[in-house]
């Protein structure tokens, strides 16, 4: 089976400085690839490069088509949804407006039904639809960001540290939802996460990023058992 996302020799950076020095990885259709590594390793940079938010070189294929030269909005239109670091919430808009924006690209009539469906996943959001998104708690904002991304009906979901800054209970809830999404929708997920054990439990493939290079890649279970990886990169 060919990969949903295939990245080969990806180089990217900010201004003159190169951060990613040629990395390779794939996400299978309906699969979850975890991208792990220390702070500053280049995980966020990788997701931003895939979405065309910064200058990049190398080869990026989404569903077989080259997207390394495409504009961000066109990559989104092909079916890549990105929940960025900091969640990308429109704080001044209402929760309902944030959700409607998630479905901005869609022309079909199923949007209202889909909004009802994602609210089943995130029942906390339902009573807050008319509230300004900036008034939500951190956990609720993360849920809103994931819900917004799902409303685009993406085929690939990029998640940048969905557990960041959240209480353990909320993190558990979010990962339970990610498991459910994975099971029912067949969306491929590229997951960047600080909490390696959580990420490895969800993922089937994992890559360890170290200073802009892939230090180790393989099935999540194998990567999670590697003694040196545990000590050096994962800290447990």
């Amino acid at each position: 089976m060919s990969a949903l996302l295939e990245v080969r020799g990806l180089r990217a950076g900010y201004g003159a400085g190169e951060v990613l020095h040629g990395i390779d990885f794939t996400v299978a259709p309906g699969g979850v690839t975890a991208l792990l590594g220390a702070n500053g390793a280049g995980k966020t940079t990788t997701l931003r490069a895939v979405c065309g938010l910064l200058r990049r070189a190398g080869e990026i294929r989404f569903d077989g088509a080259r997207i390394e030269a495409a504009a961000t909005e066109d990559i989104a239109r092909r079916g890549v949804a990105h929940v960025p670091e900091g969640r990308g919430t429109f704080l001044e808009l209402s929760v309902a407006e944030n959700l409607r924006l998630g479905a901005y690209m869609r022309r079909d009539r199923g949007v209202a039904a889909d909004i009802a469906r994602v609210l089943d996943h995130f029942p906390q959001l339902a009573p807050r639809l008319r509230q300004q998104a900036g008034t939500l708690s951190g956990g609720e904002q993360q849920m809103l960001a994931i819900a917004r991304a799902l409303l685009a009906r993406p085929r690939l979901l990029l998640l940048d540290e969905p557990s960041f800054g959240l209480a353990p209970l909320v993190v558990q809830q979010i990962f339970a939802i990610l498991r459910a999404i994975r099971a029912e929708s067949g969306i491929g997920i590229l997951l960047v996460e600080q909490d390696a054990s959580l990420a490895l439990a969800l993922a089937d493939q994992a890559c360890i990023l170290d200073a802009g290079r892939i230090a180790l890649a393989g099935p999540a279970a194998t990567v999670g058992r590697d003694e040196q990886v545990r000590r050096v990169y994962l800290g447990y």
Partner: protein, 292 residues
Amino acid sequence: MVGLLHQTLSGLATGGVYASLALALVMVHRSTHHLNFAQGEMATFSTYIALMLIQAGLPYWVAFALTVVIAFALGVAVERLLMQRMARASPLAVVGVVIGLLLLFNGLSGWLFGFTIKQFPSPFEGNGGGGAFGGMVSDHEVGMTAVTIAVLIAMSLFFRMTKLGLAMRAAALNPESSRLLGIRVGATLAAGWGVAAGLGAIAGMMVAPIVFLDPNMMAGVLLYAFAGALLGGIDNPAGAVAGGFAVGVIENLGGAYLVGTELKLTLALVIIATVLVVRPAGLFGHVTVRRV
């Protein structure tokens, strides 16, 4: 007492024009952080086009609608051809370009249509209406107030109810997030300039029968609109509209009872200076509630 009421009502009528233009300024500022000082001259230029269409024999409202469409296209063209290239320029360079645009449209208006003062027809006069409130306000003032209020309500519905309106707000608030959702941010900026220019054209056509049409017609109006926008909050559309109406009333009452008509324009400058010094975010300054 009757005089006071009269001045207030006719202040609200012109206030609607300031409100429309203030909204145009806010729309452009919110999305691009540019202050379009040429907004007034673009409106004047559009008003000349309306006059040309009317003189060519088109019915008033057909000319009106056509002018709004042409103004929209003009706004889009200015953004695509010029302002888009200024996205990364220094603020001073942008101010320079915008002033250049002001001079360009001002010169173009005079060169194409002449520098002499022209009468501009009102669609509301000559119906034998005799005004409202016992003749305290003219038919035109009643009509222009109705038009501006209708336009402002339509704008509010557009931004809250339509997909494009919501996308335009989103793109102004968070361009990067918007692009990740597939919104073509560049196109929404251009549409924003277009809508702003359309609003300006309506303001121009509504005020022209009162102040008469000449290439500098909107210079004073823009100053009042700017005062209104600052008063309400330069990034707050509803605030700017309220500010525009408030400035209209302040201008009229101040002119009648405080400083006299010769110094009315000074009032606008006083408002601008006071707001900038005392409360730069405006009376209804943009407050975002956020939790971490």
